[in-house]
């Protein structure tokens, strides 16, 4: 560490922060080490193994959706009163996962958090694939999927329009916008790196296919100037967007009158939960990826530690929201509201509630300890637990309030069918298949951006006027 030239932008000696890129002092080695992931003749064996499993699961998802369309939504456990079963729980779960990518790329960019450069690319990819999974569920939940176009304001033979005062329609616009903006953000960020892969391509097919998607990027400074401006604008636009999306998702619940749903705490609580689960998923994916493809010089322990800190922060916010819900239920003096929360903790779905609390509130507290933030196994297990906990949070919210609302005579019990469970598993297959394809064929780390945060990238580092290439003496 001490051999690296001193540079104020990455190494803050007062606080003793470690550098963002380890063991690299030249840009060329950074390029070749990252491109190795795509240029290797064969990916590691683990890639084939996970690909085999996840593509089978994705195929199963397709078949189950076919079965659902042919048979009808009766194949699910959804009933009256629990109209929103697994599909909506899964939708909210996946949209939540999809929040970390844009948070890392947009909000951390605006806050000038340079450590984001090593993880932003695949966090963004994860966002896009998670939103694809999320979008599948409401799409098939509508029952008659061939009428999905009713969701959009398209002039039709019935002269009918969507009802714009409904949060469900806001959701269509929010998730649609989020997907589109995340996609262009991801793609535009990738253009310079695709150009790198194009210029390193060893055969014609690679050169042409990367070349087309690189749009003829040639690293022109006149282009970079507008590109950087565009990237900043996209970050500034995506920041309120990412906060709005899960707020709108929470409106689906909060605008309803149901006890346990009708609360104003929902938007911030959902956004915190979304970031929480998204970062957990980034860790779940990043830890094996950096081991398998040897990216430890770029995704360092410092990055892991930072993510653990964000999980601790957002997990504690979620814990605060859980307790605040109880407080507000008591403080409101509203018996139905009070019942809804006591029922969550001690009623027929108490097991789900306590899984949620132990995974989401208790687990992240271990990250107060530095040892836990720097131990890969602890990080990985905690991230899995958080993923599980966040799925149960959505289950608790959606199912308990519907199953036991105002009138005991209309209470019910929800039980998932095998189709429900396998469809959810299948969505993981779709997600992982897309992610593995991404790792294999697209630049997994933001190569140009990583070079930009290296101390060597500063034009004033080693600024010697006679222009030689001696090492900088610090």
């Amino acid at each position: 560490m001490t051999t690296l030239p001193v540079d104020k932008t990455t190494v803050e000696h007062t606080s003793g922060r470690s550098p963002l890129v380890l063991n690299h002092t030249s840009f060329g080695t950074v390029t070749s080490e990252i491109c190795r992931v795509n240029e290797a003749k064969k990916p590691p064996f683990a890639w084939y193994a996970t690909m085999a499993i996840s593509s089978c699961l994705a195929l199963m998802l397709g078949l189950l959706i076919g079965y659902l369309i042919i048979t009808g939504v009766g194949v699910w456990g959804n009933n009256n009163p629990v109209m929103w079963g697994f599909p909506i729980v899964n939708f909210v779960f996946w949209v939540g996962i999809g929040h970390a990518g844009t948070l890392i790329s947009a909000i951390l960019f605006l806050f000038r958090q340079k450590w984001r450069t090593s993880i932003n690319r695949f966090a963004e990819a994860m966002t896009i694939f998670a939103v694809i999974c999320a979008g599948t569920f409401p799409g098939i939940h509508i029952g008659r999927v061939w009428l999905a176009y009713w969701l959009f304001p398209i002039p039709n033979q019935m002269s009918m329009w969507p009802q714009f005062r409904s949060p469900l329609l806001w959701d269509v616009f929010a998730v649609g916008t989020y997907f589109t903006v995340s996609l262009v953000f991801w793609y535009i960020g990738m253009v310079p790196d695709l150009a790198t892969l194009r210029d390193r391509a060893t055969n014609k097919i690679k050169a042409v296919s990367y070349g087309i998607f690189a749009l003829g990027w040639r690293g022109s400074m006149r282009h970079w100037h507008r590109y950087e401006r565009a990237y900043l604008l996209l970050a500034a636009l995506a920041t309120p967007l990412v906060l709005s999306v899960h707020s709108v998702v929470s409106f689906d619940f909060a605008v309803a009158q149901l006890p346990g749903w009708h609360t104003t705490i929902f938007p911030p609580y959902f956004v915190a939960g979304a970031i929480f689960s998204g970062f957990a998923m980034v860790l779940t994916l990043a830890i094996p990826a950096r081991e398998l493809w040897g990216l430890k010089n770029f995704i360092t322990l410092r990055h892991m530690e930072n993510m653990a800190k964000i999980i601790l922060l957002t997990g504690t916010m979620v814990g605060y929201a859980y307790s605040m819900e109880f407080f507000m239920a008591w403080y409101s003096g509203e018996v139905y509201e009070q019942f809804a929360f006591i029922n969550r903790a001690f009623g027929q779905y108490a097991w789900a509630y306590w899984i949620m609390v132990s995974c989401n509130v208790v687990t992240p507290q271990i990250f107060w300890f530095k040892w836990c933030r720097r131990n890969i196994w602890v990080l990985f297990s905690a991230s899995l637990l958080v993923n599980i906990g966040m799925w149960f949070e959505r289950f608790v919210i959606a199912v308990t309030s519907l199953a036991n609302d105002f009138l005991p005579s209309s209470w019910g019990w929800f039980e998932p069918t095998w189709v429900d469970i396998l469809t959810f598993l299948g969505s993981f297959g779709l997600f992982m298949t897309l992610f593995l394809l991404f790792i294999r064929y697209l630049p997994i780390l933001a190569i140009a951006e990583i070079k930009g945060v290296m101390p060597e990238a500063n034009p004033h580092a080693g600024h010697d006027h006679d222009h030689d290439h001696e090492e900088v003496k610090s």
Partner: protein, 212 residues
């Protein structure tokens, strides 16, 4: 090398004839590139080329070198202004869409006859602005983001799948670890010996000819 024609009317075509590549005799000189290996070196070089008064020149770098754009004298882009109007279009469009489809019974003709519908929900006013805000916001962001990307590509004249800089295999490292300063032959100040001399004075690692 022949001396160049009068500098004032140095049309690109004139230069082409003048700077016929002596080796092949067919290719046209498009520009000269100087290769550097550090951001500091290209920064220094860019300042000098800018000071020499060239206009048709550029730097090709693997990442945006901080401050190089302003050292080159690049004017601040108008992109944010375009994006503002893109966003404004989205805002207006979303508001009009919601008011038309949910609050008015207007008949318009847009390829097919389109009629608005007055939704009465819980006795709320027909134009209930607060309920329209989320969609207005989302569409504003959508239009702004698409304008940002579209505007950036349009101003950069991308996609551009053929370019002399891309053609030369010697400049491939512009997306890897080398920094290139390219002066185009169409620049009114481009006079091959003098430009070469200027580039040499910047002590580049290499001097590369680019053909069109």
């Amino acid at each position: 090398m022949t001396t160049s024609p009068v500098q004032a009317d140095a049309r690109p075509d004139a230069m082409v004839v003048d700077d016929m590549n002596p080796d092949t005799g067919t290719s046209q000189l498009w520009g000269l590139a100087a290769e550097f290996s550090t951001p500091a070196a290209i920064m220094e070089a860019a300042k000098k080329v800018h000071a020499a008064g060239y206009r048709w020149w550029d730097c090709h770098t693997p990442f945006p070198v901080h401050g190089l754009d302003f050292a080159m004298g690049i004017k601040y882009t108008i992109l944010p202004i375009i994006v503002f109007f893109g966003g404004l279009t989205g805002t207006c469009l979303a508001l009009l869409l919601q008011v038309f489809t949910n609050s008015l019974e207007l008949n318009i003709w847009a390829i097919v006859p389109v009629v608005g519908y007055q939704f009465e929900v819980s006795g709320k006013p027909l134009i209930s602005l607060p309920a329209f805000i989320p969609v207005i916001f989302e569409v504003t962001v959508l239009f702004s983001a698409l304008t940002t990307v579209g505007g950036m590509l349009f101003l950069n004249k991308l996609p551009c799948l053929y370019h002399p800089v891309l053609k030369s295999p010697k400049l491939k490292r512009a997306t890897d670890d080398r920094f290139y300063l390219v002066i185009e032959s169409r620049d009114p100040k481009f006079v091959r010996p003098r430009t070469e001399e200027l580039l040499e004075s910047l002590k580049p690692d290499a001097l590369i000819e680019l053909e069109a």
